[in-house]
Amino acid sequence: MATQENTAAAIDIKELVFRFGPGLDPVLTIPEWSVAANERVFLQGNSGSGKSTLLGLLAGLRTPTAGVVNILDTQISALSGRKRDAFRAQNIGVVFQQFNLIPFLSVLDNILLAAEFGSSSSTTLKTRAKELLERVNLDSGLSSRKAEQLSIGQQQRVAIVRALINSPALLLVDEPTSALDHANKESFLTLLNEVLDDTNCAMVFVSHDPSIGSMFDHQVALQDLNQPVGAH
């Protein structure tokens, strides 16, 4: 299924407004933004600029105060909570900056749990998980280790595998390299791009670090997207 063609836009945002509470200033006001299928976008934003909030909205973990968030032609912002959870499990992979894995579950269980929520067919699941682990240069012997026993770099690679186990059409990555040193940072990004080459998965990569942006086709600054009221 890795070669499935996504013709729909991965992300399509219109008139998005998000505020944390009534009466508060909106954190995000995005009149329009879209990411095409298979497109990989580097989204640069300073800390506190609302990057993580935007990712939460894209992942369907949050709902916008106003406006529309379409993911893969599905208006995720209009789905019920339960449907959003299912949609997220099946179509969106998420990688955080550091803590991605349930510490007390084994590497394999972390991956399989994600597959469980994504309702992936179970017959080939373990094989696929091991393939992916090898693809990110992790020894398959690690798969039975508890996640907390792995190094941060290893954990991040497992996180990629987990995010991709359900063959999502959109990968949301939130500063995954911030806990890595420079050398690991580069190799991680290279690996991520290589793995994504095998798939038809769009990616939004969020970081405050502009230096990483050079490795992406498209770069966007959140400040340019976000046009808070009064900014004009």
Binding site: R62, D85, A86, R88, I92, P103, L113, E116, F117
Partner: protein, 548 residues
């Protein structure tokens, strides 16, 4: 299905991850459930063992008193008989149609703090306990002679009595008496096996033996005062022989005879009571100098039932100061009567002590020819109420018939307050354990916040997270319950091993009662409700994901 497996898998791994906290929570739950189940078990066991203290007895008949008093007296042998049943009434009751058997019980004596029960040999056939379990002899057999005594299991172990051992049964507990060797000694003819009922703590003799004890005791008293009289000893034996035969009839007559020339109608008299009755007649002939003293006794020595009752009432009230008074008076008397003051003082003192001893022990034995209570068996339980009514309306004597089962239940309901207190405490212990569990779960929420975020990011629904928290609590409680049940079963097995002979009954391993099943159900329900607190908190975390 897969989700459920995943749920339990994650919950299980999560608990292992927090093992130290979880282990403590499990221990707290296990201990509290153990307490809860133990209390419930002991309560039920106690109740059923209590209720089966006596079985196969349809009615207990005694002089009119409270139902519970009669039960306590006749079965538990607690309290003092306030009135008795005449032998004529006993016979009349036993001749009633529908009455299959009667077993008389005569109380009032004790041996080293154990009650002596005068009864018929039939007692050993008729008295049943538990589920109609008969009394079993560990060794020996029932009494056949007047001087045979059957001892309960606890009496046997406590006083180290075995078959053929001789023991002195007397009113005054003659173990310190210098006249010990003169007394009628009983031989242990049988030792009963443990029953877990008051039978274990009693000595059983025939009704004739009860009479013999009293006769003997009179002699003992006689001895105490008459041993300076060279003739006393030899005469005592004669007298003793007399007694067995003529005891009652002589007494009333004797009473009249001596009450006249006795001027001291003291309270002390009641204290001297029956025990002196029989022998006085004989004694005062030999010992004219003891006349006054014995006159006192005489006054006391009547055996008319009604008077006897009154006297006992007075007697109980005045018991204490009478003792000392009596002592003084007695000493005085001795001084007057004899010139060896010091020697007699000793004796008097001894006598005083003896009297005190008497008081301490139970000596409100029925006058000879009467019994304290009777156990009645009917041809059919269907006649119970009919016979009960007949007895209660018995014209010659004020009698009371009670249904043992009913009275036992009534008595238990009095004792029941304690069990409710225990129950209440165990419930509080359990609730505190649940609070501890909840506190542990809530305390872990901070570190779990991140786990919840991760679960949400991979598409875990909110209800998965709520369910996870609830299942973790449930698993903790379940493991706690399993440990508690296992522990309780082990404890019971151990207790049965160690205490079987002591308790006389094995605790049942059947520890699940409707009430404890309800308790376990409530435990789960309470756990569920309380676990909603951390679960709700987790849910809130899940909803407000990435708010930071």
């Amino acid at each position: 299905m897969g989700t459920l497996r995943a749920l339990f898998g994650v919950a299980y791994q999560s608990l292992l991850y927090r093992l130290s906290g979880v282990a403590l929570a499990i221990a707290a739950v296990a201990i509290s459930v153990f307490v809860l189940l133990s209390v419930e078990h002991v309560r039920n066991e106690a109740r059923s063992s209590f209720a089966s203290t006596v079985s196969n007895v349809d009615l207990i008949v005694g002089a009119r008193t409270g139902e519970i008093n009669l039960l306590l007296l006749s079965i538990f042998r607690i309290g003092n008989p306030t009135a008795n049943i005449s032998w004529e009434s006993v016979e009349e009751i036993s001749e009633q149609p529908n009455v299959e058997w009667v077993v008389p019980i005569s109380l009032g004596d004790s041996h080293k703090n154990f009650r002596v029960v005068g009864t018929s040999a039939e007692f050993f056939d008729r008295y049943k306990y538990g589920q109609s379990k008969p009394l079993v002899f560990k060794s020996g057999e029932r009494f056949t002679n007047t001087l045979d005594v059957v001892v309960g299991a606890h009496v046997a172990t406590d006083l180290a009595y075995g078959l053929g051992d001789e023991l002195v049964l007397s009113h005054g507990m003659a173990d310190t008496s210098f006249t010990h060797h003169d007394q009628v000694t009983f031989a242990v003819s049988g030792v009963l096996a443990t029953t877990g009922t008051p039978v274990d703590n009693a000595l059983f003799v025939s009704l004739e033996a009860i009479e013999a004890i009293h006769a003997d005791e009179d002699s003992e008293h006689h001895d105490a005062h008459a041993d300076h009289d060279e003739h006393a000893e030899s005469e005592r034996h004669d007298e003793h022989a007399d007694h067995d035969e003529h005891a009652h009839h002589e007494e009333s007559e004797h009473h009249d005879e001596h009450a006249d020339h006795d001027e001291h109608a003291h309270h002390e008299e009641s204290e001297h009571h029956d025990e002196h009755a029989d022998h006085d007649e004989h004694a005062h002939h030999e010992e004219s100098e003891h006349h006054d003293e014995h006159a006192d006794h005489d006054e006391h020595g009547h055996h008319e039932e009604s008077e006897h009752h009154d006297e006992h009432a007075g007697h109980d009230e005045h018991a204490h100061h009478e003792e000392s008074e009596h002592h003084d008076e007695h000493a005085d008397h001795d001084e007057h009567a004899h010139h060896e003051a010091s020697e007699h003082h000793d004796k008097a003192e001894e006598h005083g002590q003896h009297a005190a001893n008497d008081h301490h022990h139970q000596h409100d034995h029925p006058p000879i020819g009467t019994v304290t209570a009777i156990l009645v068996g009917l041809d059919s339980a269907a006649f119970t109420l009919q016979v009960q009514r007949w007895v209660n309306e018995f014209a010659d004597e004020a009698l009371l018939a009670i249904l043992p089962g009913f009275a036992l239940a009534q008595l238990w309901s009095l004792v029941g307050g304690v069990e409710n207190v225990l129950r209440g405490i165990s419930i509080l212990v359990f609730i505190s354990a649940l609070f501890g569990l909840n506190a542990m779960m809530l305390a872990s929420m901070r570190e779990r916040k991140r786990e919840i975020e991760i679960l949400r990011s991979i598409g875990a629904p909110s209800r998965f997270i709520v369910a996870l928290l609830i299942i973790e609590s449930m698993l903790i409680v379940t493991v706690g319950i399993i440990l508690a049940v296992t522990g309780l079963l082990c404890a019971i097995a151990l207790a049965n091993n160690l205490l079987a002979s002591e308790l006389g009954l094995a605790l049942s391993l059947q520890i699940f009662y409707p009430s404890s099943m309800v308790a376990l159900g409530l435990i789960y329900l309470t756990t569920l409700i309380l676990s909603l607190v951390p679960a709700w908190k987790a849910y809130a975390v899940a909803r407000s994901y990435s708010s930071g």
